[in-house]
């Protein structure tokens, strides 16, 4: 892991972009793990088809990881001969295997570590400028003292030298790398955390859960520095209700969780809808159902996020389209929640949240949550749930004189008193729907590449966006014009805008990572997709790769 991160930072110093995801075994701590790094001269939002280079310092339980590390005859595998014969699953790929005695090389250096030897080898193999790794290494190992740094630098050098024993090595063309831009190295979870902070969140309550905990840990440290606070709750029922309380008090609030926690929050989300209390819940998806596969990624909480509330409970569901976009989408989500006084569920996933990317410094966007409030009014004239044209009723914040009201999950009159009357129910249901369907979301509802182009549309969402964009790039290179639509606003899904973005195509390929084709069904439920439709869906944890999307489109071309 450490080696992977240093490699990526070093590449960033050389002007490259990068992405690093991790795959862990079942052991709580220690045990096997794999770091998957992709580097590029353009921003990297997803993994590539195959792994060009695999450095295996040991083969422990490689079967568990093999599905997530695709190899081909063009791949180069560097392994330690002391770890025994090349496993069948690797050999079967046809990849070229070369041997480097990592352990022996490391053992020859006092305090030498195997992963540092491997790091030096990789950096040199792909041709990173000589100074970059040592430079990052000295920053990283600074705290560990002089001896550790010396050992690290030595090990790296030994690794670099070992490259000489390998011929015909893959390299990166660094000349294409942009220079002079400020680069950030950030994980999706940190980006989400910083995004909600930028959006104005000042209160968080939460219960830890994999893979969302890092969002909370980042905010626990950051919030007190901006006058806010985080409360660790006894469970998710408490955390969601705590943020409803804080937001009722006028303070923009959020929590983060994953599937099982979101399931426990749906009752209170409905309360947020009915009582019109803005909150943001970031749900970092993992493999489901039930406890499922906590450390791996999937896009299968979409149904619950969109439909999981009882009664007619319109609310907003957004999804980040990349690690960098976690920041934008988080900030936008806070903005939407506050503007419409409605709960927003923001979806990301493990593949995004726990991965780290080297990206361009994200632009500062203007979205800061701002709620329509009232100041002191004539005595008792205040109607908390006034029926307005926009559907948004100005909200009194405790402390405002003459406007006290009771927020209520019981159906109510405009004033907020409980009512069982059909007319009040209809009126409030209409109002709560109107405020979110009539809102001007601008162009942010989706990220579109190749707008208006071609006969084929690829429509996707979330962490598959990178693969879809890559696929489109290749298809265009092959002369097939396609457009890619990655939907950021999953609910309310606005049929008109989706239809407009699809106008002119005769084929739609839906790409998603769920066994139940949840995204495709969601689209169908709201609009008639034009022309013929195919779905490229697979459950987690193995992500859909660009070549699979390319293949799906070209198979269609061939009439398959």
């Amino acid at each position: 892991m450490t080696a992977g991160r240093i490699l990526m930072d070093a590449a960033a110093e050389a002007g490259l972009y990068g992405l690093m995801t991790r795959s862990l075994g079942p052991q709580i701590r220690g045990g096997e793990s794999a770091a998957l790094v992709r580097l590029g001269t353009r921003p990297v939002d997803g993994l590539d088809d195959i792994c060009d280079l695999l450095v295996a310092v040991d083969w422990g339980n490689i079967e568990r990881f093999a599905a997530e590390i695709p190899l081909a005859p063009s791949s180069l595998v560097v392994a330690d001969p002391a770890q025994g014969p090349v496993p069948e699953v690797i050999a079967a790929s046809g990849a070229r295997v070369v041997m480097v005695p990592f352990r022996d090389l490391a053992a020859a250096i006092p305090d030498g570590r195997v992963n540092m030897v491997a790091l030096g080898l990789v950096a040199s193999l792909i041709g990173l400028p000589d100074a970059t790794v040592p430079s990052v290494l000295s920053k990283t190992l600074k705290r560990k003292g002089e001896a550790a740094l010396t050992a690290g630098l030595q090990a790296v050098t030994v690794g670099e030298e070992a490259v000489a024993t390998i011929d015909d090595t893959p390299t990166l063309d660094l000349s294409q790398a942009p220079t002079g831009r400020e680069k950030w190295s950030i994980s999706g979870n940190d980006a989400t955390a910083f995004g909600v902070l930028r959006g104005g969140v000042r209160f968080v309550a939460a219960y830890p859960i994999t893979p969302a905990t890092e969002i909370l840990e980042w905010l626990a440290v950051a919030l007190p520095k901006v006058g806010g606070c985080l409360v660790q709750a006894e469970d998710e029922l408490a955390s969601i209700n705590m943020i409803l309380g804080a937001s009722f008090g006028g303070v923009p609030s959020m929590t983060a969780t994953s599937g099982p926690g979101l399931a426990l929050m749906t009752e209170a989300l409905g309360l947020g809808v009915a009582a019109e209390v803005p909150i943001v819940v970031c749900n970092v998806m993992r493999g489901g159902p039930s406890t499922g596969i906590p450390t791996k990624s999937e896009q299968a909480d979409l149904n619950m996020a969109v439909y999981g509330l009882h009664g007619d409970a319109p609310h907003i569901v957004t999804a980040a389209t990349s690690i960098a976009d976690c920041l934008f989408t988080a900030q936008w989500s806070v903005y939407l929640a506050e503007a419409m006084q409605v709960p927003v569920i923001m979806l990301t996933d493990q593949a995004m949240g726990q991965a780290r990317a080297v990206i361009d410094r994200p632009a500062d966007v203007a979205f800061v949550g701002r709620r329509e409030t009232v100041s002191a009014q004539g005595a008792m004239a205040y109607q908390r749930y006034a029926v307005t044209a926009s559907g948004v009723s100005p909200m009194a914040i405790p402390g405002t004189p003459e406007c006290a009201y009771t927020a209520d999950g019981l159906e109510h009159s405009p004033r907020g008193t409980p009512s069982t009357q059909a007319a009040h129910h209809q009126e409030q249901l209409d109002k709560r729907l109107r405020k979110i369907t009539g809102f001007d979301y601008g162009a942010h509802w989706a990220v579109i590449d190749g707008a208006g182009e071609g006969d084929t549309a690829i429509i996707t969402w979330g962490s598959l966006t990178g693969a879809a964009m890559d696929a489109a790039h290749r298809l265009r290179a092959d002369g097939i014009a396609v457009r890619v639509i990655s939907v950021r606003l999953l609910s309310p899904l606005r049929p008109e805008v989706v239809a407009e973005a699809l106008a002119g195509v005769s084929r739609v390929l839906v790409v998603e990572q769920s066994h139940g084709m949840q995204f495709s069904r969601l689209l169908r439920a709201h609009l008639d997709l034009p022309g013929s439709v195919r779905v490229c869906a697979r459950p987690g944890p193995v992500p859909i790769r660009p070549h699979e999307i390319v293949a799906a489109v070209t198979a269609w071309d061939k009439g398959e």
Binding site: W184, A233, L237, M242, L244
Partner: protein, 277 residues
């Protein structure tokens, strides 16, 4: 107790014009009256007070008052109040509800609110029954009460001990009152609001409809706890002798209330540096 005071307010100023759904004679009437009296006595400005509740007959309280209210979902009043107080230290936050709301579905939040010691005043109107859903056994119902078809012959379980649990869990103010003695109840609410930390008032509040025998509470209660213990162990010893009908303030501790941590301020733009490669 926070926020500015009103000049000589009247208890009526804290009562709304919404007609309670309660049955005539319900013990809960005296609780809203006592809350209004206490707020008037302390002269708290209505806009600086929030009254949070869950679901149940008792939880209807907020709409009947003129302070800010939040009538949430069943069992979750304490977390809502905790979030509000942690985000808005300037408000006086009261929480009200029933024995079902607070000790059955809400039992976990009760435990953790006692421990957390956020400055809230929690009033539980205990009638040992689920009034709202038409008369089922609650955690404080006697093991042999056979008034509910859901538990023919009685729930058969030893009743929940709210004060013992509150003390064990770490509540820093623990009292018991009877809704038939609104003056004492008012006094306790005032003291609880003034106490810095989590205050719990256990109010015996008869359900006239499903537990008409609770009319006899008035003959059973006895004000024994005239002086609050300041030592938890001492309070425990007192409680080991309790018959469930002693009233008064049992315990008042001095642990500091939970508050958000204060840290030097940092501009958002300065936080960005941690991401720069």
């Amino acid at each position: 107790m926070d926020g500015e005071s009103m000049t000589h307010p009247n208890p009526q100023d804290y009562r709304s014009d919404v007609k309670p759904v309660w049955c005539p004679g319900c013990g809960h009437f005296a609780v809203i009256t006592s809350v209004a009296r206490a707020l008037a006595e302390l002269g708290l400005a209505r806009e600086n007070v929030a009254l949070i509740s869950g679901i149940g007959c008792s939880s209807r309280l907020p709409a009947y008052s003129t302070v800010y209210g939040f009538h949430g979902v069943h069992g979750r009043a304490l977390p809502v109040a905790t979030g509000l107080k942690m985000a808005r230290q300037d408000l006086t936050v009261l929480v009200a509800g029933g024995d079902g709301d607070g000790f059955s579905i809400g039992g976990n939040h009760f435990l953790h609110a006692c421990r957390r010691n956020v400055d809230l005043t929690y009033i539980v109107m205990d009638n040992s029954v689920y009034g709202m859903t038409k008369g089922q056994a609650s955690p404080t119902t006697e093991a042999d009460w056979d008034g509910s078809k859901l538990t023919p012959g009685g729930p058969g379980i030893a009743p929940f001990q709210p004060l013992e649990i509150a003390l064990s869990a770490g509540a820093s103010f623990v009292a018991r009152a009877f809704s038939g003695q609104p003056a004492e109840l008012t006094r306790q609410i005032c003291e609880a609001i003034c106490h810095k930390g989590f205050s719990f008032i256990h109010v015996l509040s008869p359900c006239i409809t499903y537990r008409p025998e609770q009319r006899a509470y008035k003959d059973k209660v006895h004000q024994d706890w005239s002086q609050p213990a300041s030592d938890r162990t001492e309070a425990f010893r007192t409680l080991l002798e309790d018959d469930g009908f002693a009233t008064g303030i049992l315990f008042r501790g001095s642990e500091p209330a939970a508050k958000p941590v204060e840290r030097p301020r940092v501009a958002l733009s300065d936080m960005e540096t941690q991401f720069v490669v």
